[in-house]
């Protein structure tokens, strides 16, 4: 199995130091998402992989080839790496037609062959007919696909995408999110995608690397990272809505009973922590179900009577802020909210399944 190995450090004068160490398969499809807030170094890592930025220290190896080794001063130029880079603003050449943009990187081929490959690629991207247009006259979504076509027509070993959807408006962005993943799958090459939108991360990625202040804080399969953030900061970043201080009062064979600080509420979670341990509880809004009236039999271990404090509409979902002895957030669909007759002041029962509560020791 061929691997991409990367262990680098890049310092900016007057800026932060950015460090990244990871390893991913280099020969089969997978999407690694670099996720983190603005300025955390996502773009910098991508640029180091492409050879556009020189790390101050470190090694990058791709299969047998050493792309960078600061100890031996080895450095392979961007031209030689055979990596495809999709820039945030697409960086289409404004003085060339769509066709010439796509053909731009195809050298050393006969004219006919080049034309064949370009039109094949444009077909594949549903861009045929646009060959002679200027990129300026096209919509954001079309521009994105042209940029992708320009990169993919060279059959790169890797694909690096820097916020591929952020230049688009929301309507287009949401529809292209799905298309993009399908497209990447169909090409079957390993990809790195930078984003600071967790919905985008979920929609596009397999692997997730969470960056904070220039350092990779957590990485692993998308699900694992999302359901088990390593600390509260990552948890908050990933969209956990309620982060509640609590203490373990009773531990029993993987199940722990906790008492929420300052309240009398007790919660059961799956956790091996000993009694007396102080923890943060992370509860995602979508893991909180709300019921009114008498609760029937249910698999949820935690049933918390709570009062609705406020409702906030957010697109298809409603964010319900609850007071159950502690601050709790639930996400429900609009018609669920209507069916339940949710109003500020209404009483509800919040159901939370034990495995859905994530415990971070503190």
């Amino acid at each position: 199995m061929s691997l991409l190995f990367c262990d680098i450090e890049k310092r900016f004068r007057g800026g932060p130091t950015i460090r990244a160490a990871f390893e991913t398969p280099a020969d089969r499809f997978s999407v690694t998402v670099l996720f983190g807030p603005s300025g955390c170094g996502k773009t910098t890592i991508l640029r180091c992989l492409a050879g556009l930025e020189r790390p101050d220290r470190g090694v990058i190896r791709c299969g047998d080839a050493t792309w960078l080794d600061t100890s031996t001063r080895a450095f392979v130029s961007p031209q030689q790496r055979g990596v495809g880079f999709l820039f945030q603003d697409y960086a289409l050449f404004p003085h060339l037609s769509v066709g010439s943009n796509v053909a731009y990187g195809l050298r050393g081929l006969s004219r006919a062959e080049r034309r064949r490959r370009v039109s094949e690629m444009l077909d594949m991207m549903q861009l045929s007919g646009l060959e002679r247009r200027s990129p300026r006259t096209l919509s954001g979504g079309e521009q994105q696909r042209i940029a992708l076509a320009r990169v993919l027509v060279r059959r790169p070993r890797f694909l690096l995408l820097d916020e591929p959807l952020s230049a688009l408006d929301t309507v287009v962005r949401e529809s292209l999110r799905r298309e993009l993943r399908q497209l990447l799958i169909s090409f079957g090459i390993p990809c790195f995608i930078v984003t600071h939108d967790r919905h985008e991360a979920m929609a596009l990625g397999d692997q997730l690397m969470v960056l904070l202040r220039g350092t990779v804080h957590q990485s692993g399969p998308l699900d694992a990272v999302f359901s088990r953030p390593a600390n509260t900061e990552i948890a908050r970043l990933l969209g956990i809505e309620s982060v509640i201080p609590a203490k373990v009062v009773h531990a029993d064979n993987g199940l722990a009973t906790l008492e929420v600080e300052g309240g009398k509420t007790r919660l059961v979670v799956t956790s091996p922590l000993p009694a007396g341990q102080s923890v943060w509880l992370c509860i995602r809004g979508e893991d909180v179900s709300l019921y009114t009236g008498a609760g029937g039999t249910t698999s949820a271990r935690n049933q918390i009577p709570a009062r609705v404090i406020s409702l906030e509409h957010e697109g298809p979902v409603v964010r319900v802020i609850l007071d159950g002895g502690f601050h709790l957030v639930a996400l429900v669909t609009r018609n669920a909210a209507a069916d339940l007759g949710l109003q500020p002041g209404a009483m509800v029962t919040a159901h939370i399944k034990a495995p859905a509560i994530h415990v971070v020791p503190r």
Binding site: G51, L52, P78, Q79, G84, A91, Y104, G105, V151, R154
Partner: protein, 220 residues
């Protein structure tokens, strides 16, 4: 009208422009892209001819190219002829003197090219030189045009340096500006006025070209 002088001047301006096109582009590209910390020294040196009196420059060029200087001797042993008082001599002087008028617009238009486009080209496997030819040049043509027009027009109007190095030989080194000067010295004001008006009109029209093409004020 002194047609010999006009023809000579146009030839000189054209040669200067062509030479500075080929010399100026790499220098400007280096200035626009280098991370060398002493770049400002090179930039200051490039801009010097704007500031120094032309006659001072001409005076030193005359010394540096004369038959007793190493450069003059090398040129003489190679070509068998002399630099001062020849077309080659005033061409050399004119090229040196016009460096800033070509290089500064070139460099500022190169610096205005979106670096992302250059990097995109590199990542598409295209070499630095090819990227320059296929992306940077076509995208900065208005700046290059400005530089070429300034160089051409400034050579037409140049006077001091050529006077010092040229020796006012009709058909060889007597350019139009020197012709005007000679006319003024000979109290031949009517002829001087005529020629000056033509020169003024030419300069104005030439300058209008880049400014009219460039929608936004220069880099401004």
């Amino acid at each position: 009208m002194d047609w010999t002088a006009i023809w000579l001047t146009l030839r000189l301006a054209a040669c200067t422009t062509v030479i500075l096109f080929f010399l100026g582009l790499p220098l400007a590209y280096w200035l626009a892209t280098t991370r060398f910390r002493g770049r400002f020294l090179v930039e200051a040196a490039v801009a010097l001819p704007i500031i120094l009196p032309p006659t001072v420059i001409g005076f030193y060029i005359l010394w540096a190219t004369g038959p007793r200087s190493p450069l003059g001797q090398a040129y003489q042993s190679m070509t068998g002829s002399m630099l001062p008082f020849s077309f080659a001599g005033i061409l050399l002087a004119s090229v040196l003197f016009n460096i800033p008028f070509a290089v500064r617009p070139f460099a500022s238009s190169f610096a205005a090219v979106n670096r992302r486009l250059v990097e995109a080209s590199w990542c598409l496997g295209v070499s630095r030189f090819q990227t320059f030819l296929r992306v940077v040049l076509p995208m900065s043509w208005t700046g290059i045009l400005t530089g070429l027009v300034l160089t051409f027009a400034h050579t037409v109007g140049e006077f001091g340096v050529v006077l010092m190095v040229g020796g006012s030989i009709p058909g060889v080194t007597r350019t139009i500006s020197i012709a005007i000067y000679d006319d003024v010295q000979a109290l031949n004001y009517a002829a001087a006025h005529r020629t000056a008006i033509v020169l003024l009109a030419f300069a104005f029209v030439a300058l209008c070209i880049p400014y009219a093409i460039q929608r936004r004020a220069l880099p401004l």
